[in-house]
Point group: C2
Chain length 268, copies 2
Amino acid sequence: MTFAARFRAVLSRGRLCVGIDPHDGLLDIWGLPRSAAGVREFGLRTVDAVAGRAGIVKPQAAFFERYGSAGYAALEDVLAAARAAGLFVIADVKRGDIGTTMDAYGAAWLTPGSPLEADAMTAVAYQGLGSLSGALALAEEHGKGVIVVTATSNPESIATQTAVRPDGRTVAAALVDDVCALPGTAGLVIGATVELSDYGLAPDGFGDVPILAPGFGAQGARLGDLARVFGSAAPRVAVHVSREILGAGPSGVIPAIESLQGELRSLP
Amino acid sequence: MTFAARFRAVLSRGRLCVGIDPHDGLLDIWGLPRSAAGVREFGLRTVDAVAGRAGIVKPQAAFFERYGSAGYAALEDVLAAARAAGLFVIADVKRGDIGTTMDAYGAAWLTPGSPLEADAMTAVAYQGLGSLSGALALAEEHGKGVIVVTATSNPESIATQTAVRPDGRTVAAALVDDVCALPGTAGLVIGATVELSDYGLAPDGFGDVPILAPGFGAQGARLGDLARVFGSAAPRVAVHVSREILGAGPSGVIPAIESLQGELRSLP
């Protein structure tokens, strides 16, 4: 099964993607130490809360990397626990490079048996989607995915992502076209607060490609905006929520997930 | 001292930047295992060879990350050995994100005492240079640097990097302007095979900003091209060479470094 087919199957049971973002502020709220042990505990408890209640988790590697190899050992435990619980795991690493370097990133995150194995990794294509070919080839081989940052919500993004290439397409629109041409191995990160038309994008231009949409909650988008922003593509959108779930503290995570899942089920 | 001032001081003693890129092919040439122990040994031996002969090393994190936390422990040892040897260490990680995530990447690579401490990290600004502000603030605080991928040599890069933003500047040229406006905290990655004018760039447009130039050797550029490509900026360019040094095998590394340093000293 391709990544796109696996992702569709997960989304059909619920579109919520729960972030695992143990930054200092959240560690404090949870009463956990700012250490590798703290982020490990945070990640494992979040996985326990998500298991059986939502289908997708997205650990943010940066919050583990800041504790070096000890933080990475914690991340390995969290990734393994999430996969053992049957969750679809997106490693949010936003890697981007060329040649053997990109091959190595793919090997790290997308190879079965790797200590950092995930189901998909996020990536950045500032050097062109072709620069990611090493990771995309591994994704195809193993039914895994590369989810490419395309149109994002932060205000500093828009000038680059709407820039017009020599072929007349915006940077974001060319990425969408290129990803759509791949055999189910890639997805798109599209912020839920963007106006697609500003980027030369349209909801019917995403083909069958999986979409990961951050930006809900504190970043400004509401779940009710899903259909307005993504139109016919809305059922293929993984709705990433982090702060609204994790910020509720350890005892509030499960009610927050259940409430969001309920709301999402009622939406188109 | 700012990153830019520290970098200038290093370059005045020699412009060579030696890559530490233990990919499978090189591990095989060196007779080292494809494992965390192999990349550790590769990195430590390279540091020994460079110490006293060139000023800058650039370990590529991907080749360590593929071995997970064990690979990161190896990278920590290599970074520490390089810094203890007085080398200027550029962690080639090409991180790019926003908000607390970018803060965490900065904390990982640019904070004194972090297990992954380096003197500078490479970064990608697909979400705009402003998205890197967390890492740039840490860089300013600690005299460290963020070296931003700007114009690169791989053919898939050019359509994105020459795309024209709403303000009429190319993506690459706007990045250069924005980096030049920073207080000595950032540098630019500019491939040595690019035609600057294709990107709307010119040698006299780089101000005092440090430049890291990959692309020499197997990737097509010759050291003799340095002045033609970078003009008046050539003295501020760190000349990154990897395959030509590392591919010579453990016994050939020192002669390769000495030969390249000698050639560079004879060039403007």
